[in-house]
């Protein structure tokens, strides 16, 4: 059972409503930006990766387990 009699009472919270709801709103805004920012960063980097010509030459970050980039293209 909800503690408050009505949604208006929940909004007002006997005078504490503005404090409580604004604290929750700020928190949710921070949580949303924490999720959205890295998501956007990843999407942008992924788009660049797909658009760029096939990798290989001069690959300093090549994972050693997958072999050298140039060798595999020869």
């Amino acid at each position: 059972m909800m503690y408050f009699d009505s949604l208006n009472a929940a909004w007002d919270m006997a005078g504490h409503g503005p404090y409580v709801w604004s604290a929750y709103a700020i928190t949710m805004a921070v949580v949303a930006s924490l999720i959205i920012l890295p998501h956007r960063r990843a999407r942008r980097a992924q788009q660049l990766l797909v658009q760029a010509p096939s990798a290989g030459a001069g690959d300093a970050n090549q994972d050693p387990t997958t072999g050298g980039g140039n060798a595999s293209q020869a």
Binding site: F4, I26, A55
Partner: protein, 243 residues
């Protein structure tokens, strides 16, 4: 232990792991957060002394708890980076700092909003609040240091040292309410003995603490994934994973 560090140290393994883990944990976190917040806001009873303003506890305490725990994660990554020179530890350190800063900010702001109707002031230079403010500066310091250096290895070293030195602050924050006269109450939830908080308030609080831990894990993995996408753009394994 060494095996786990070694596995997490492999960018291809971590990228695949994080992609999968985020897919599962992100919806779980959102559900837990909604349940915890709605429960705390609308269904938990009011506090007999503070009335409804105490409902801020359901976000304030989880944010503060995870901000503190997150600092240990960052410092541990700093230690691994310094001792074993594992690149992924630098990526982890860099990923944790902004999340920790954001959660510390939430803890401070919600605390200030809670303080106004409860103590009559937005801000007091109380031991716990001051040490939390120092925590915010430590997190922001690591973020700024990573940006300040051109050479990523030098930046990582400086950040690792700052993270490790800053760990001194964490026990001070925990113990601040016992060591100094403070407006903050001592810990209500105890692992041993009876908690000083009623079950009707404890359960939504625990749900939100879980939700904030999940939030931390999810966002750190998302940050690390984004960094790998940006820095390993030429790697064949990354193309394979993305396509």
């Amino acid at each position: 232990m060494w095996k786990i560090i070694h596995k997490f140290g492999s960018p291809p393994w971590f990228f695949r792991f994080a992609t999968k883990a985020v897919q599962w944990l992100l919806p779980l976190m959102l559900i837990a957060l909604v349940v915890g917040c709605v429960w705390g806001l609308l269904y938990a009873p009011p506090d007999f002394r503070q009335g409804n303003s105490y409902r801020i506890i359901f976000i304030h305490v989880p944010a503060a708890v995870v901000a503190l725990a997150g600092y240990y994660v960052m410092a541990f990554a700093g230690l691994v980076s310094l001792v074993w020179k594992i690149k992924m530890a630098d990526v982890a350190m860099r990923a944790v700092a902004p999340v920790g800063a954001a959660l510390t900010f939430v803890a401070l702001v919600t605390g200030a909003i809670w303080g106004k109707p409860t103590w009559g002031a937005w801000w007091v230079w109380d031991a716990r609040i001051t040490s939390m403010l120092i925590l915010l500066f430590l997190y922001l310091g690591v973020v700024a240091l990573f940006e300040a250096y051109e050479n990523p290895e030098v930046a990582a070293k400086a950040c690792a040292v700052l993270s490790l030195v800053g760990t001194v602050n964490i026990p001070i924050i925990y113990k601040s309410v016992d060591w100094w006269y403070s407006l903050h109450q001592p810990a209500s939830i105890k692992f041993t003995g009876e908690s000083a908080i009623d079950a009707s308030m404890l359960y939504p609080l625990l749900v939100n603490i879980g939700a904030f831990y999940l939030l931390f894990a999810v966002v750190v993995m998302m940050n690390m994934r984004a960094t790998l996408l940006e820095t390993h753009s030429n790697a064949a394994w990354l193309r394979e994973a993305v396509e």
